[in-house]
């Protein structure tokens, strides 16, 4: 049957159905079903997931000042960004103003997360969708060295270095213990890099793994510990003591200098390794411009990184805020998270109940009432689904919409908004990269564009880190060491009923928490996370979400090896860790892959 969606996609579910199904999860799992036509082109896509559907149940009745510690556990990857969003929501509700230093330190924490997450995402969760590890074994180390030196001044590039690395890799593969590399479709026609580029990328995979531990030391310094750094409503929990005596754990000049050094190394790694790698890989996939999905029409960014404390208006945010709809880049709409008519969540195709499911609910009035049932055309049982019925309820993810539009969020959305706003710091790097690759602007709206935008954002974030670090040091040197405002710490100073919203740009996209506080306790708490936007099922009008849209019309080299599906879904950096099975149409297991 062929269906035309209001957001412009033609869905045809008559062809062979391929199911990519999870076996495990960290924060939630994800399953994708697609129908392919006789040429193995995807003509229908159905994305479903389990998400943390009960944060409000967990938080109701608790102290709002502790909410960050719970939300930090929602996700294994963006712990800090949930914590930051939570403290902002509470501060918004209680109208607490934070000191300038706290704003700088929070920005440093958040930008550090962006840099860390983008590097780890690219090298450890995504690169192997483009890079064939096994092919690297047949590379010529000398030619690899020549390639690396032609791309970047990065010093780890001698023939001997690549020879040693290849030897280690060979030993590892021969031991039968492929470890991190085990879930690949090595040798697939969908891989395009020559062996030398593969070997270089594998070398950088290992270098990035080694380097990422340095980046998170910034979290340890400002957050007291890592993983799970500490946060504080009203500021940041780290006192500043530049003289370096007394105050265990206080920030002194020595620690600040250490942070500066890590930032410099992050800038260097991004400029000399990450970006050249993305450009080099991109040059071999220039004609694989699938996966754009919603990005060419509807994107949303809340904005983040306030230059000055306590001002969350678009003009004060370094990361852009705005919404683009219907592909009209000439008009960027403002976004208001408080307006009950802008952001609404629908459940017509989600396993929840609303009194009226044709309507959406703003998160302040959000309801999470589970209702698990399979549609009449689903196959299998409730505990063992063979295939879903997308005409009915089919996901634990709700469908958030902005003024009724399905939106893509994430680095690509942010960069498109910044580009459309003609901000040079976003537009110029995009134009340069496209020019270097010989690609038109439209190439941005693709899986490759999403991956490239993340790399450009990593570079941007590393530079911004430097800016806020310099600003922090300058403020401290001028004698201001204040990091927290505890005037409204005591609940007796709070009004009896208030509500607030906090937002950030998580590495994987726009994130917001809405809170209602009653008599000093949490009365309602709703979080709409980036993967809810991107991974949402259809809405009552039939609009498909960003994941689903991104898979449409992509040709698959071999449907039993869903490399193209994984490549595109991974490019969103979904905050669902998903080990998945590939199932044949009759439900028999054929292969195992990992989707994240």
């Amino acid at each position: 049957m062929t269906v035309q969606t209001p957001n412009g996609f033609t869905l045809d579910n008559s062809g062979k159905r391929i199911v990519v199904d999870p076996v495990t999860r960290i924060e939630g799992h994800m399953r994708v079903e697609v129908n392919v036509d006789e040429q193995n082109v995807i003509r229908n896509a159905v994305s479903t997931g389990t998400m943390w559907r009960g944060i409000e149940v967990i938080l109701r009745g608790r102290d709002p000042r502790d909410a960050w510690a719970f939300t930090e556990r929602i996700c294994g990857v963006c712990t800090g960004t949930h914590a930051l969003t939570s403290v902002r929501a509470v501060e918004d509700a209680l109208q607490i103003r934070i000191p300038e230093n706290a704003n700088s330190i929070r920005n440093i924490m958040q930008l550090t997360l962006q840099v860390h997450d983008h590097i780890v995402h690219f090298y450890h969760l995504h690169a192997l969708d483009w890079v064939d590890v096994v092919s690297a074994l047949s590379a010529d180390p000398k030619a690899t060295s020549a390639l690396a030196q032609s791309l970047s001044p990065w010093p780890l590039s001698s023939p001997g270095y690549f020879r040693d690395l290849q030897g280690r890799l060979k030993k590892f593969v021969e031991s039968g213990q492929l470890g991190p590399f085990k879930n690949g479709y090595w040798g697939s026609k969908a891989y395009r890099l020559p062996p030398e580029a593969n070997l270089m990328a594998v070398a950088h995979y290992l270098e990035a793994l080694d380097f990422q531990k340095e980046i998170v030391k910034i979290h340890t310094i400002f957050g007291g510990k890592n993983p799970h750094p500490n946060w504080l409503v009203g500021g940041v929990p780290c006192p500043i003591n530049v003289d370096g005596i007394g105050g265990v754990g206080a920030i002194n000049m020595e620690r600040l200098n250490y942070v500066t050094e890590i930032i410099d190394r992050s800038i260097e790694f991004t400029n000399q390794v990450y970006l050249p790698d993305v450009a080099a890989i991109g040059s071999f996939y220039k004609d694989w411009l699938y996966g754009g999905g919603l990005s060419s029409q509807s994107v949303l960014a809340y904005g983040d990184i306030p230059e000055h404390a306590n001002d969350y208006s678009a003009a004060n945010l370094a990361l852009p805020q705005g919404a683009i709809i219907n592909g009209n880049l000439a008009e960027v709409f403002p976004v208001n998270l408080r307006d009950p008519l802008e952001i609404q969540e629908f459940v017509a195709h989600s396993w929840y109940k609303y009194p009226d499911e044709t309507k959406g609910l703003h998160p302040w009035d959000g309801v999470t009432d589970p209702h698990y049932e399979l549609g009449p055309n689903a196959k299998g049982t409730k505990t063992n689904i063979e295939s879903l019925d997308e005409g009915a309820k089919y996901s634990w993810i709700k469908s958030p919409r902005w003024k009724g539009h399905a939106m893509e969020v994430g680095p690509l959305a942010r960069w498109i908004v910044g580009y459309a706003q003609n901000k040079p710091e976003f537009k110029e790097p995009v134009d340069k990269l496209l020019k270097d690759l010989g690609l038109p602007t439209s190439a941005l709206f693709s899986t490759l564009g999403r991956t490239a935008a993340r790399a450009l954002e990593c570079q941007w974030a590393a530079d911004k880190l430097k800016h806020f670090q310099d600003k922090l040091i300058a403020t401290i040197k001028a004698g201001d060491s204040s990091t927290a405002n505890v005037d409204k710490w005591e609940p007796k100073s709070w009004p009896s009923e208030v509500k607030g919203v906090g937002f950030t740009e998580a590495p994987r996209g726009a994130l917001a928490h809405w809170i209602k506080i009653k008599d000093g306790r949490i009365d309602n708490y709703q979080a709409v996370v980036p993967t809810t936007w991107n991974g949402s099922p259809r809405d009552p009008n039939g609009n498909i979400g960003a994941f689903e849209a991104s898979l449409m019309n992509t040709p698959m080299a071999d449907p039993t090896q869903p490399l193209e599906i994984l490549r595109t879904l991974h490019s969103f950096d979904p905050c669902l860790a998903c080990s998945t099975h590939v199932m044949s149409p009759d439900g028999q297991e054929m292969a195992k892959v990992t989707v994240r």
């Binding site: 960290i26 719970f70 556990r73 213990q177 470890g179």
Partner: protein, 194 residues
């Protein structure tokens, strides 16, 4: 005479405390911390669901002891102790560790970077309920926490780092603050969905 350095030991709890029996690893670590004072060469780490980000801690450890929820298809609450080379094999063979193929990946990544722990042990527990988001540990799993902590103490003793049993009423700095410690968390947790 050169003084021999004591091997650094990491005791790691893995899991999502917001997700019923998925929280076993972290809660077992918390229980261990409440019952025993570990030797100075031992560090405790609540690894949450950090996955690959734990690689540096694994790299730094000479010996590694892990608490985790595992699925061996056993009776709920059954403890399973695996040591040495069996640990990565077990976590990788099937969906043994519920935290992604992940922990095996973390071990392999440490191996690739050339820093694999000399000794390795896993104290796993078979969960009953993993679907109850926001729910507490189920009774069969909760009942095993002290046993799991005692086994950890025994293993650490065998590794040359004997633990001291804390005296009743000893004040212990909490491993998890801000209301997410075991007692505070369970106090508010919703009962499992029907």
């Amino acid at each position: 005479m050169v003084q021999e350095r004591k091997p650094g030991i990491l005791v790691l709890g893995i899991g999502n405390i917001l997700w019923a029996d998925e929280g076993f690893g972290v809660r077992a670590l918390e229980t261990f911390h409440g019952r025993y004072r570990a030797a100075a060469s031992v560090s405790l780490l609540d690894g949450g669901t950090q996955g690959l980000y734990l690689v540096q801690f694994v790299q730094e450890a000479d010996y590694l002891l892990v608490f985790d929820a595992i699925d061996y298809g056993l009776e709920p609450g059954t403890l399973k102790i695996v040591q040495g080379d069996e640990v990565p094999k077990f976590t990788g063979a099937k969906k043994m560790s519920l935290h992604q193929t992940g922990f095996q990946e973390v071990l392999s990544a440490a191996d690739l970077l050339g820093d694999y722990p000399e000794k390795l042990a896993l104290i796993g527990c078979q969960p009953l309920d993993l679907e109850d988001w926001g729910g507490p540990l189920t009774a069969p799993v909760r009942q095993q926490l002290e046993q799991a902590a005692d086994i950890a103490a025994t293993i650490l003793g065998q590794w040359g780092a004997p633990c001291l049993r804390r005296s009743p009423g000893e004040s212990v700095a909490p491993l998890l603050g801000n209301d997410i410690d075991f007692a505070s968390y369970e106090k508010f947790s919703a009962p499992p969905e029907a």
